[in-house]
């Protein structure tokens, strides 16, 4: 489904903004997920059989090339990816049927560590390792993007925001609630 289908159906969809650190999935035909990306990356997953889709939005701190790999919180990125996959599975999707699209990962300017590219690379390598097919990507470059995704149909519209400054997005730190707490029964 490479065509850019109009996102309009009989009724205007209910728009839900996916914020950084979130992962949501739905099969509701009246919903549209939307987000604005600078260096952040959004993953859209879709199962064409279950007609269920989901989106996440993240920016992991510091690229691994930046000497200190500890600052690149791969654990947290993996968690947000797994959360997204699990959200779709809970609605009847099968991992083997999932198709992925990736957006965002823009790099702000020369001289800074290319954090957008590092996040894009993380997302690509995650999909590769998990054998989830990447059907489309619009990643890196220098411009912000606005993404619209219809989760029940798997349709994406990604618009490059040429005239707007890249939103300054702070890398994601894990919330305190995501501290890997252990509870022994």
């Amino acid at each position: 489904m490479e065509r850019r289908a109009p996102l309009r159906s009989s009724a205007e969809p209910t728009k839900i903004t996916i914020m950084q650190g979130q992962a949501r999935a739905s099969g509701d035909t009246s919903l549209e997920y939307t987000t604005i990306l600078g260096s952040c990356v959004a993953t859209c997953l879709f199962d064409p059989v279950a007609k269920v889709g989901g989106m996440n939005h993240f920016l992991l701190a510091e690229p691994p090339s930046n000497r200190d790999p500890e600052h690149f919180d791969e654990h947290y990125g993996l968690f947000l990816m797994e959360l997204l996959v699990n959200e779709t599975l809970a609605l009847g999707a099968k991992k083997s049927r999932l198709k992925a699209r990736l957006y965002g990962g823009a790099n702000i300017r020369d001289g800074l560590a290319p954090i957008g590219s590092a996040n894009a690379a993380f997302a690509r390598s995650f999909l590769l390792r998990e054998s989830i097919e990447l059907t489309q990507e619009d990643l890196e470059g220098r411009h912000a993007r606005r993404v619209h995704f219809l989760p029940s149909r798997g349709l994406v519209r990604c618009r490059t925001l040429n005239d707007e400054p890249l939103p300054m997005q702070q890398p994601l730190r894990r919330p305190k609630s995501a501290g890997g707490d252990v509870e022994l029964f």
């Binding site: 654990h75 996959v85 699990n86 995501a178 252990v182 509870e183």
Partner: protein
């Protein structure tokens, strides 16, 4: 020197398996890995471990099924089983506890906290 604690991790995600392998071997544990509950049971039929760490959402047999199966076998009645999951609902946690899990750890895991928990339940 005593023998290293042997752990079986069960998770369908290759990325998560790689992270667990790295974190646990760095703490000196001996790590074996299975991709889901079915593979874990097959491996455990002929191998011994000190501890099982399992995910919940997996194809073929999920973490609940694995725990129930292990607790149904005399060999594994007292085997420590830690659940490591993205799930955070009290209902799922209660289900794991009722099935016989030893503990519950939410992802993203912290390598130090995980290692401490492993030592506590296997000492």
């Amino acid at each position: 020197m005593h023998k290293a604690t042997r752990i079986l991790t069960v998770d369908d995600s290759p990325s998560m398996r790689a992270l667990l392998m790295q974190a646990l071997t760095a703490h000196g544990f001996d790590v074996e890995q299975a991709e889901d509950g079915v593979e874990a049971l097959e491996w455990l039929a002929t191998n011994e471990v000190d501890l099982v760490i399992t995910d919940i959402n997996m194809p073929r047999m999920d973490g609940f099924g694995l725990i129930e199966n292990l607790r149904g076998s005399a060999r594994h009645t007292d085997r420590p089983i830690l659940v490591l999951t993205t799930e955070s609902s009290d209902e799922k946690k209660k289900r794991a506890r009722d099935a016989g899990a030893t503990g519950w750890i939410v992802k993203p895991f912290d390598a130090e906290k995980l290692a401490t928990a492993v030592r506590r339940v296997t000492h």
